[in-house]
Amino acid sequence: MRLLIVAGPPSAGKTAVVRQILRSVAGSRKAAYLKIDVVRAFEDEELRAEFSIPAKKIYSGDLCPDHMGIMILTDTLVWAEQEKADILIIESAGLCLRCTPYTTQSLGIVVLSSVSGTNAPLKMAPMIALADIAVVTKTDLVSQAEKEVFREKIRTVSPGIDIVETNAIQGTGMRYLMQAVASTPEITDAKTIRLRGIPPLGVCTVCAGKQEIGWQNHCGVVRKLESTEAIFRGD
């Protein structure tokens, strides 16, 4: 089984890109899909109906969605294996521009919208830096100059990254993404999959919704008034 991890800010066109991938593998490979989101998500229902594939979603609620994604990835791999999938596509919620949910033994795809401004790649550098391929969407809407500058900014963040420019709704220019998907190696040993980087996840108990005050009521990384550095407190 191959693992694809798709990240990118909201409304960049992640699901449009996933649709194109599903369209291109339909008939030859079985895909499974997981959407991670925070409050509401509909992509799993839409893609299940459209492509007749096993699809799931998970809401992270108060938890950082990328943290959630990391926690459930092993279970998701087991689920996809049970569904006899050849390709597992995981789509992030795309909330945090610092997040970098890519793992080893996967193809990391970052989806960026060319209408988000020419400096956008610099603002979401960590999400780009550890990805294998950047898919730039909505390129039919922007001027040639902005297209070229957008590309330069991506290269500033990650000089070696593969860049694909597309109108993902039409599917133009996608052939190189499909080649990258086809040449992604299969997972060799799911037990050895690791994160490529360390995402700066805010996963303390406050983030998780605990409203009590004082370190005595919290776990994880805490801080006391008289101490000079943060300490880890288990539950």
């Binding site: 039919d140 001027s143 100059a145 902005e146 133009t172 220019g173 052939r175 190189y176």
Partner: protein
Amino acid sequence: METEPIQCITILAGHDRNGVAEPFERIDINPGDTISIVGPTGSGKTAFINDIEVFACGDTITGRTILVNNMMPPESFVRDPSKKPIAMITQNTKCLSDLTVREFLVMHVRARGITKSDICAKTLALANEFTGEKMHLDMRMTGLSGGQTRSLMVADAVLISNAPVILLDEVENAGIFKDRVISCLKSHGKAVIFVTHDPLVSLLSDRRIVMSNGSVERVLTPNGNEREALTAISRIDAFMGRLREKIRAGELLTGPVGSE
């Protein structure tokens, strides 16, 4: 990667929506050619220019293949916008950044590594030939009208991108001087392909590709046989232009407007 100048772009036939092969073998486009793509909405006009834009190799919905100088184009043509010899300008194409015209042009000139100091002024001057509403370098891109934006994008494609092939999707809707755009592109040796519903643009082109059901139905080469119609349409277009200017100037068109 340095590449040969483009002598010829070739479209090899694909198939229509029912999988029936298109009734042509190849369509060759050379520098200076003007071609219009006509046909009802949904007939496959935009898909046709999209094929050219992405250098289709049998991998798009139409099954067409695009060759450059009779060969498969290098990957950089497809993937790197600064190497791509094709500029596509659609009704939606805009500068989204809140920049002045000067900053926009400088940004593009810098991205291209062009050192000619007067290129921004030249691009602006060319753009101003295409539009009735003059622009200057200190105007904001986001404040330009549709016609001004389109004029600037065409001038940018000609002088800064220096793209040998320009694809224009329904250029007539933007309120620009179409005849001037066409003669300018011809004089710069550009190959131009218009998707159009406009009689004047269609008749000003050397060839007309007629689309239906996702396929090229036929290719018309008028060879001067439409000269009479073209003269009449040019007159009507100029007449409509004058009326438009009067209306824009706030005049009441009382009495007979005549026909020219």
